[in-house]
């Protein structure tokens, strides 16, 4: 079984570029990833590509071959759709294919064009990740779904909006020197608390922005990396995926994410590490409460304690376990189909010392990427480790 190397990564800026097509976004990310990797496009054996709402935002289906063409890759291409975990699932399959010896070089990534839909249109498009009959038709939105989880969390374990506000403040702070981030601006707790409500208790600053963007990652086998003299010190050593009932009301717990726990447990076991070995994590903070649920599901904090982690400085850049050093979805942005692959890119750069925030994690060897779809009916977790 071959080890899986991260040979190169590429990201577009995440932000508000409504006129840019997803094929243009992915082309830019792929160019950056190939330049970073030193791998020839001719060696790519497959493109695995994540996208969620292309039919709605661009009237475009069948993205695989379109994106292979955009990236200049002559290889079979497949689109992965698992809502906001789309490219997380693509990365997972890429890992399997390389491990199994079926491929030595895979281009994996994703893109999403969203801002051309406007806020109402994007809210409607995102809502299709929920159960249309039993949730959306009752008026549930995605911020609404996470608000239901936040309210349930407060009821079960305690906590208040100010705890969540500290998650947003932290992630904005982390994004200050990330030149790909949608927001490179500091905010204060009072900004979050006083922002317009979206779905109580969550307000505008508890929510990630609507974003356009793309991410691309070139993965290779150990053998290929060695033969071609690639500088690829980071490997994906663990992969896991979890699933759950589609509708939030059908879950055993309203304030926990068992699918993410399942994915995390599987990824840790696969990598031969445990939660205590994790030095940093990029988690799916589409809303502030989502970061709390994620760090508990990943066993990085006990259930009921994740809520105060940011407020107590435990997850800040200089804290014991930095979470979302990239700025997370909250400040970096969340072009849905690109997010899972972008997290792999950020963790790889943080571990290899190539990230502006690597200085906070000098000795880090192990990082985790947690990508969630819907109200976490889908989750993927990947463990990345760097050679020292």
């Amino acid at each position: 079984m071959s080890n899986v190397r991260v040979a190169g990564v590429g990201l577009t800026p995440f932000g508000n570029t409504p006129e840019r097509t997803s094929r243009d976004l992915f082309a830019e990310a792929s160019i950056a990833a190939f330049e970073d990797s030193g791998v020839s496009r001719d060696d790519v054996e497959a493109l695995l590509y994540g996208n969620f709402m292309g039919e709605l935002s661009e009237h475009q289906g069948h993205h695989g071959p379109l994106m292979a063409e955009a990236a200049g890759v002559r290889a079979p291409a497949t689109r992965y759709e698992s809502a906001c975990a789309s490219s997380g699932t693509a990365v997972r399959d890429a890992v399997f294919r390389i491990r199994n010896g079926e491929a030595d070089v895979i281009l994996v990534g994703g893109a999403e064009r969203m801002t051309n839909l406007g806020t109402a249109g994007a809210t409607e498009a995102l809502a299709i990740a929920a159960d249309d009959l039993w949730e959306v038709r009752a008026g549930m939105t995605f911020p609404g779904a996470y608000a239901l989880m936040a309210q349930a969390y407060f009821e079960e374990y305690g906590g208040e909006h100010e705890d969540l506000a500290n998650v947003a403040v932290k992630n904005h702070e982390n994004a200050l020197n990330n030149d790909k981030a949608q927001y490179q601006s500091a905010i204060e707790v009072s900004d979050v608390l006083e922002a317009p409500q979206v779905s109580s208790p969550l307000g505008l600053y508890d929510s990630c922005p609507i974003s356009d963007g793309a991410a691309a990652v070139v993965l290779t086998s150990d053998e290929y990396a060695e033969e071609h003299g690639l500088e690829a010190p980071v490997s994906i050593t663990g992969t896991g995926q979890g699933g759950d009932r589609m509708a939030l009301h059908d879950r055993e717990y309203l304030a926990r994410s068992p699918a993410a726990r399942e994915a995390g447990d599987e990824a840790y076991a696969d990598a031969g590490v445990d939660a205590a070995d994790v030095d940093l994590a990029e988690v799916h903070d589409c809303f502030t409460i989502a970061e709390v649920l994620a760090i508990e599901s990943l066993d990085l904090f006990p259930v009921g304690e994740g809520i105060s982690a940011a407020r107590e400085g435990r997850t800040t850049a200089d804290g014991e376990l930095p979470i979302n050093l990239s700025g997370g979805l909250k400040a970096k942005g969340h072009p849905v189909g690109a997010t899972g692959a972008s997290q792999i890119a950020e963790v790889a750069k943080l571990l290899s010392g190539d990230h502006p925030n690597s200085t906070f994690v000098d000795d880090a060897t192990t990082g985790v990427a947690h990508n969630a779809g819907g109200t976490v009916a889908s989750a993927t977790v990947h463990v990345l480790e760097v050679d020292h």
Binding site: T119, A120, G121, T123, E124, A127, L133, W134, E135, V136, R137, A138, G139, M140, T141, P143, G144, A147, L148, M149, A150, Q151, A152, E155, P196, Q197, V198, S199, S200, P201, L202, R245, A247, L248, H249, D250, L254
Partner: protein, 138 residues
């Protein structure tokens, strides 16, 4: 109905979703039900297989008349289909064999709280005229 709006007439021309719309029809007549498998697991239609145990022998059983709100939110930024309905309270209520998501009607959304006892009431979206699964506090 005698007070059909244009939007409502339009909504009624939509292709029905078998199972779901039948359930809404039944709930509107105070005959809401859930599906019960031989092992006692509850679920909502349309469904052929119990999601908990895989049993395929599912039978309709009467839904308990009231449920208890377990979590709620007041939505200020809706999808376009609820533009004129906002702000509104969405809640998850526990009816025993199943939990259900619905829109709380008949009260100021800001007064909704956990533990509130509700019954099902099929209401209509002010925006689209589509029927909406609602909860009315009892």
């Amino acid at each position: 109905m005698s007070d059909n709006t244009d939007a409502e007439s339009e909504a009624e021309t939509r292709t029905q979703d078998a199972g779901f719309d039948d359930w809404i029809d039944a709930a509107a007549e105070d005959d809401a039900y859930y599906l019960e498998c031989p092992n006692g697991h509850g679920s909502l239609p349309p469904r052929r297989v119990c999601p908990d145990c895989g049993e395929t022998d599912l039978e309709e059983a009467p839904l308990p008349e009231t449920g208890e709100i377990q979590t709620f939110t007041v939505t200020h930024v809706p999808t376009p289909a609820f533009e004129e309905d906002a702000p509104y309270a969405t809640a998850i209520a526990n009816f025993g064999p199943v939990r259900i998501t619905g829109q709380v009607v008949g009260v100021d959304p800001e007064t909704v709280e956990n533990g509130l006892e509700v019954e099902i009431e099929i209401t209509v979206s002010e925006t689209t005229g589509e029927r909406v699964l609602g909860f009315r506090p009892v």
